[in-house]
Symmetry: C2
Subunit: 321 residues, 2 copies
């Protein structure tokens, strides 16, 4: 009984911006709690106010320092800000090993800033449903901006781009030449680029190379041309210009209709991920039809090919076993 | 008619090690061809001979040079080797922008080495089914070892670990201190670690830090303790020792029963990914029940929460709409 009462109460408190309630709801997301269904139903009608800013880049480019500097600027403008820092899972760190959070300490006592490190562990599909869920919570809590900061290059970047309204890609001089950048697939995902640590040697070259490579892609009329800025996040240099460009992109999104398109796409991914997670739960347990584990064993022994196994799995699903 | 005859012929030629047939089959995998079902059925009973070696690490650590040096060593030992280099998607490069492949040129004319760059583009779940499929092809073509080289840190690493029998994690001095390594989640996935470019300053420190951090995790008796080696792939220094450790891990896998466990897990992921891909195809097209796009629109407008939408999607699946 206590449980069913807890959710409406938590959601009501989160809506009032109570940090403890917000934290508790995000923990439910992280734990993939069975209560999530109820939480999301209660939050349902509120999502979509906050602007979601994705920040990504390779380790060492200064993502956390940049996030911190951007948060400071947004706070000066009177905005309420949520920060979700997505760390890949690690049995050692549990996503909580020093590093980023230490540097974010400046904002730790500010009630208008919610900061949360989230592991991406254990969820197949990684960010696919847990991050949009957490964004919903922060949105309901009245955040004007939700920053989703992710470590890494590679697959996860593309996922971030799918989650955010605006994606900011950070680079640093000497962190890799243009070809490395292209390999890492960053050229297609950024709405705004910043070469951070641009007081270091090679910043101009990195900026120039990036501009050249970005110029290689064809763009339609009226399409957004991603600007490439230079920043020194540790001193705040270039942060105001960066904030301006981010605002300019937000305005373009709204005018062009791209915002609606991106948010529908994000909702699509979220719904699909929730559906897949629900199926995986059924497949993991002994239900109708042959279990996934039994099928996997037969496939690994070479007795069954993966398509025939998938057919059996799906047949079980629709009760045709 | 020609199509249905083409697959058995291609598979037969691939089994004989014909590089053109192998290349064509991997292209079918990359293109998510409808013929894949038939290809995999024809390959079905053969998989499991090749040892799958995953190589990962941040951009700039020398993955391609290391792969090339390892391939050279394996070739000296008379092994047939397949290399799958997984590049994140990029509309500019299409995964084919200079870089790695240039350096792999040493082996380009060797008929006992298959080298293939694969994009991970377009497939939800990334590596989840396309890489195991490509491994099946190379396995059937008689490869003793299949190397899966992936760019990046973050989510994709964890996926690589799920794909490989043995995972080799590469680092380089000064590429980031221990905390960065922990953040990138590399500590849990490596079976063997190599600090490459170890003629550079800081190699000993990187090795020492890594050993300390690896030592922090608890390990059961009889568990594998990941060694940390030092290499200079460009000169071949340390490569023989690295090959020895990789062999030692392969032997341990077989003895401990871990090989069977990992391969069953890999098959599980592959079957699940094939099943999910099949569902996504149905969801994408107008079929039974409300389409995913329509549901996503309602969710993004705030008219429906993601769980209710997922329920409707799954109800449509089992014909209960």
């Amino acid at each position: 009984m206590r449980r069913t009462q807890a959710v409406p109460d938590l959601v009501a408190r989160a809506r009032e911006g109570d940090p403890a309630a917000v934290a508790r709801l995000i923990t439910l997301v992280e734990d993939a709690s069975p209560l999530l269904r109820e939480v999301m139903a209660a939050l349902g009608g509120t999502a979509g106010r906050a602007h979601v800013l994705g920040i990504t880049g390779a380790p060492g480019v200064g993502k956390s320092t940049s996030t911190s500097a951007l948060v400071a600027g947004m706070r000066r403008a009177g905005r309420r800000v949520g920060v979700l820092a997505i760390d890949p899972s690690s049995p050692f760190s549990g996503g909580a090993l020093l590093g980023d959070r230490v540097r974010m300490g400046d904002h730790a006592l500010d009630r208008e800033v919610f900061i949360r490190s989230m592991g991406a562990r254990g969820h197949l599909g990684g960010l696919a449903w847990s991050t949009p869920h957490a964004v919903r919570v922060l949105d309901a809590a009245g955040c004007d901006v939700v920053i989703v900061e992710t470590v890494g290059v590679g697959q996860s970047e593309v996922e971030v781009a799918g989650l955010a309204d605006t994606t900011l890609v950070l680079l640093a001089p000497g962190m890799g030449d243009g070809i490395q950048a292209a390999k890492a697939g960053i050229l297609e995902i950024g709405d705004v680029y910043a070469v951070n640590k641009s007081d270091r040697e090679g910043a101009d070259r990195t900026r120039r190379e990036l501009r050249t490579m970005l110029g290689m892609g064809e763009r339609r009329d009226g399409a957004w041309r991603p600007p490439v800025l230079q920043t020194v996040a540790s001193t705040g240099e270039g942060i105001d210009e960066l904030l301006e460009e981010l605002d300019r992109h937000a305005a373009w999104l709204a005018e062009s209709g791209e915002l609606t398109r991106r948010r529908t796409l994000r909702a699509r991914g979220e719904v699909e991920a929730v559906a897949v997670a629900s199926l995986q739960e059924r497949w993991g347990s002994a239900g109708t039809g042959p279990g996934l584990d039994a099928l996997a064993e037969r496939v690994s022994r070479g007795d069954l090919d993966p398509y025939a196994a998938a057919d059996e799995l799906l047949d079980g699903l629709s009760g045709r076993d």
